[in-house]
C-alpha cells in the first residue's frame, strides 16, 4: 500500500486493482495485476509501457469502464463499483475519455455539432437548444476549430482536426477528469505537437486532471508530472517525471529509456544502448517477477517471488528485488 500518496486532493485512487480476462476454459489472462496508484487534482499521470502491457485495460478499469476483478477504485473518495443510478450517471459526466483513433471513435454519420452536443443532451446541461449551440460553438473555439465547422460532416476532417473534435466532445460536459488513451499516436509529427499544446492549454484553463496513456516516452516526459511504467500488467516503477527520467532504477525502465532514439546524431550515435534480449512474454505467468526472463540482473529470488513496491525516494516507487 502506498501510503505516501494519500492526500485530500487525490481525485482518483486505485488500490490493488486487478483485471483478469478468461481465455477459454482453463486459462486466465492477467491483463492488470495488483496495481495501485493515485492521481491528484490538476496533475497529469502518465501510464507508459509497450503494446500489450495492459495500460489501456488499466486505464479503462480504473474509471469503471471495465468491471474489475478485484481491488478498489475510488473517485473523489467513493468506490466506483458501488455507484448506481444517478450517481453513476454523474460519474460519466465528471470523467471523460479521449480515444486513440479519431477515425473510428467518432460516428461518421453524425455532424460535428451533434457529436459534441450528445453528452450535453444526455446530462441536461443546456436549458434549451440555443444554449446548447452556444456551448458547442464555444467548445469548437476552445479546441482551435472554426465555429462554422459545426454543421459539417466528420468525414471532411483530417486526423488532427478529428482529434480536436474528439477532445471538444469529451470536454463539452465539463468533466474534471480526462482519460487520454494514446491521443496523439495516430497523428503526424507536426500535428502531434499541436494536439499536445492544446491539451496542456486546456488543462491550465479548465483545471483538468489527466490520466495520460502513451507508449512514447519522450511525449510522456514532456507532458506528465508523474509517470508510472507498466510491464505485463504490473507497475514496475512510479514517481515524479523528472525523478524517474533522471534516475530510472528498475532495469526495465532503464532499458526502455535507453531504447528511445534521441533526434541528435552525436548523442544518438555515441550512446550505448541497453539492448534487451527477447520480447515480452505472456500475461499468464505465475506470481514472480514478470521481467525476469529479459532482465540482465536476474537472480533466483526473481524467479520465485514477485517483488513488492518499495519507496526508494519520496514519491519514487520501484518494484524490483535488486534495489
Amino acid at each position: 500500500m502506498q501510503s505516501g500518496m494519500k492526500g485530500e486532493n487525490v481525485i482518483l485512487e486505485v488500490r490493488n486493482l486487478s483485471k483478469f480476462f478468461r481465455m477459454g476454459r482453463h486459462s486466465v489472462l492477467k491483463a492488470v495485476h495488483d496495481v495501485s496508484f493515485s492521481v491528484r487534482k490538476g496533475e497529469t499521470l502518465g501510464l507508459v509501457g509497450e503494446s500489450g502491457c495492459g495500460k489501456t485495460t488499466c486505464g479503462r478499469t480504473s474509471i469503471g469502464l471495465y468491471e474489475k476483478t478485484s481491488g478498489s477504485t475510488l473517485f473523489n473518495g467513493k468506490e466506483i463499483a458501488q455507484m448506481k443510478g444517478k450517481e453513476r450517471k454523474d460519474l460519466t459526466k465528471r470523467v471523460q475519455m479521449v480515444f486513440q483513433d479519431p477515425y473510428t471513435s467518432l460516428d461518421p454519420k453524425m455532424k460535428v455539432h451533434r457529436l459534441i452536443a450528445e453528452g450535453i443532451r444526455i446530462h441536461n446541461i443546456a436549458a434549451n437548444r440555443n444554449e446548447e449551440q452556444e456551448i458547442v460553438l464555444d467548445m469548437l473555439q476552445k479546441v482551435g476549430l472554426h465555429p462554422s465547422y459545426a454543421y459539417r460532416n466528420i468525414k471532411e476532417f483530417s486526423g488532427g482536426q478529428r482529434q480536436r473534435i474528439g477532445i471538444a466532445r469529451a470536454l463539452a460536459v465539463q468533466p474534471e477528469f480526462l482519460l487520454c488513451d494514446e491521443p496523439i499516436s495516430a497523428l503526424d509529427v507536426s500535428i502531434q505537437a499541436q494536439i499536445m499544446n492544446l491539451l496542456m492549454e486546456l488543462q491550465e484553463k479548465m483545471g483538468l486532471t489527466y490520466l495520460f496513456i502513451a507508449h512514447d516516452l519522450a511525449v510522456v516526459k514532456h507532458f506528465c508530472d508523474r509517470i508510472a511504467v507498466m510491464y505485463l500488467g504490473k507497475i514496475v516503477e512510479m514517481g515524479g517525471s523528472e525523478e524517474v527520467y533522471g534516475h530510472p532504477l528498475h532495469p526495465y525502465t532503464k532499458a526502455l529509456m535507453s531504447a528511445v532514439p534521441i533526434p541528435d546524431p552525436d548523442l544518438e550515435m555515441g550512446r550505448k544502448k541497453i539492448l534487451l534480449s527477447g520480447e515480452s512474454s505472456s500475461h499468464m505467468g505465475e506470481d514472480r517477477c514478470r521481467f525476469a526472463d529479459r532482465c540482465p540482473y536476474v537472480s533466483n529470488q526473481c524467479r520465485n517471488e514477485g517483488p513488492k513496491m518499495k519507496e526508494v525516494a519520496p514519491g519514487h516507487w520501484v518494484a524490483c528485488h535488486q534495489i
Binding site: G160, E242, D266, L276
Partner: protein
C-alpha cells in the same frame, strides 16, 4: 565514394477520379555506395512512392513515371530495363523491407521456404542448399532456434521476429542496396532498438547501401549518414545528417525538429507546433509548398518555386530565405547550432 543510384527529375503521378495528381514532383538525389540515406517526411509526402519506384513497384494501371525521369543504377537506367534484367535486379541487387511484415509475408508458406524462394529464383541452387542458407540467414538476423523457426508460419512469429525474417529475406542474396520502408514503425521501442542495431551491423558487414524511409527523426539520427527531407512530393533539404541536424537550412526541417519532444528536453515546455496541415496530394501548388505554414513566408514564396541553394558540401535547401536579396534578420534557424539544447 561512388554513386550506386542516381535519381534524376523523378516525377510520379497517379490517376484517380479527380484526374491526375503528382505524388512526387521533380525529385533528384543520389545514393552512394555503403552509405545510409534517410528519406524523412510526414505521411503522404511521397517518400514511400519514391522508394517503391526504385523497385518498379509503382502500379502500372494508375501510376506513371514521367518520361524525363531517370533512375540510374550503376549508370544504367532501370526504367528501361528488360523483363529479364528486372528479375535479376529485384531481390538480388536491391532488396526491400516493408513496414507491415505480416502483410508482406505469405501467411500460407513456411518462413524458411519464403526466404529460400528468393535464393532459388536468383541462383542455381538445390532446394536443400537453399533451405540451409535460409536457416543461416535467420540465424544472422538474430532469430533463436532457426532450424525450428524455419518450419513455422508467419502467424507463429511475433512482430519483431517477423521483421527479422523480412530482413533475412531481403538480405539473403546480399543486395547492394537495401530499401527499408518504415521498418520499425509498427514495433515497440525496445524491439525497435534491436532491429536498428541489427540493420546497422548488417550494413557495415556487407558494405551495402541503405535507403531508410521513416518519419522518426530519432531513428534517423542513430543510423543515417545523409538525409533528405521531403514535403508535399519535393525534397526541401538534403545533406549530411549532422549538417541538417545542427545547421538546419529549411524552415520545415527546423520546425519538424522543434516539434518533436525529446528525452533530453525539459518537461512542460510548449512545443513549437507547425500550424495548419500539409497540402493534399491533389492540390495544385504554386510557389513553395510549405509557404502556407511557414513562419518566414515572403511574397515571393507564394508566387515562385524556390531554387536549390548549396551550403556545406552536398547540403542543399530549397528556400527563398537563402536568396541574397531576402531579408533574414529575424530568421532564427539560420544560426544553426544544436537544436536539441535550444530552448
Amino acid at each position: 565514394m561512388n554513386k550506386l543510384v542516381e535519381i534524376k527529375n523523378l516525377e510520379i503521378s497517379f490517376q484517380d477520379f479527380h484526374g491526375a495528381f503528382k505524388a512526387v514532383r521533380d525529385v533528384s538525389f543520389d545514393i552512394y555506395e555503403g552509405e545510409a540515406l534517410a528519406l524523412v517526411g510526414e505521411s503522404g509526402c511521397g517518400k514511400s512512392v519514391t522508394a517503391k519506384s526504385l523497385l518498379g513497384l509503382i502500379p502500372e494501371k494508375d501510376g506513371s513515371i514521367a518520361e524525363k525521369s531517370e533512375i540510374l543504377y550503376q549508370g544504367e537506367n532501370i526504367l528501361t530495363y528488360s523483363k529479364k534484367r528486372w528479375k535479376e535486379y529485384c531481390g538480388q541487387e536491391c532488396g526491400m523491407i516493408f513496414q507491415d511484415a505480416m502483410a508482406a509475408l505469405n501467411p500460407t508458406v513456411k518462413i524458411g521456404d519464403q526466404i529460400a524462394e528468393n535464393l532459388r529464383v536468383h541462383q542455381k541452387i538445390s532446394r536443400k542448399a537453399a533451405k540451409e542458407q535460409a536457416i543461416a540467414a535467420l540465424r544472422m538476423a538474430g532469430i533463436p532456434q532457426p532450424e525450428i523457426r524455419a518450419e513455422q508460419y508467419p502467424h507463429e512469429f511475433s512482430g519483431g521476429m517477423r521483421q527479422r525474417s523480412m530482413i533475412a529475406m531481403a538480405m539473403i542474396c546480399q543486395p547492394r542496396l537495401l530499401i527499408a520502408d518504415e521498418p520499425t514503425t509498427a514495433l515497440d521501442v525496445t524491439i525497435q532498438a534491436q532491429i536498428m542495431e541489427l540493420m546497422k551491423s548488417l550494413k557495415e558487414k556487407n558494405r551495402m547501401s541503405l535507403l531508410l524511409i521513416t518519419h522518426d527523426l530519432g531513428v534517423v539520427a542513430g543510423i543515417a549518414d545523409r538525409m533528405a527531407v521531403m514535403y508535399a512530393g519535393q525534397i526541401v533539404e538534403i545533406g549530411n545528417s549532422r549538417d541538417i541536424y545542427y545547421r538546419t537550412r529549411h524552415p520545415y526541417t527546423y520546425s519538424l525538429l522543434k516539434a518533436v519532444p525529446s528525452l533530453n528536453g525539459s518537461h512542460g515546455r510548449r512545443l513549437e507546433a507547425i500550424d495548419g496541415m500539409p497540402p493534399e496530394a491533389g492540390d495544385i501548388l504554386k510557389g513553395c509548398p510549405f509557404a502556407a505554414r511557414c513562419r518566414y513566408c515572403m511574397q515571393i514564396c507564394i508566387e515562385e518555386c524556390p531554387p536549390k541553394y548549396e551550403f556545406e558540401d552536398g547540403h542543399f535547401a530549397t528556400c527563398w530565405l537563402h536568396d541574397p536579396d531576402a531579408d533574414i534578420s529575424d530568421c532564427k534557424f539560420q544560426t544553426g547550432g544544436n537544436l536539441c539544447n535550444q530552448e
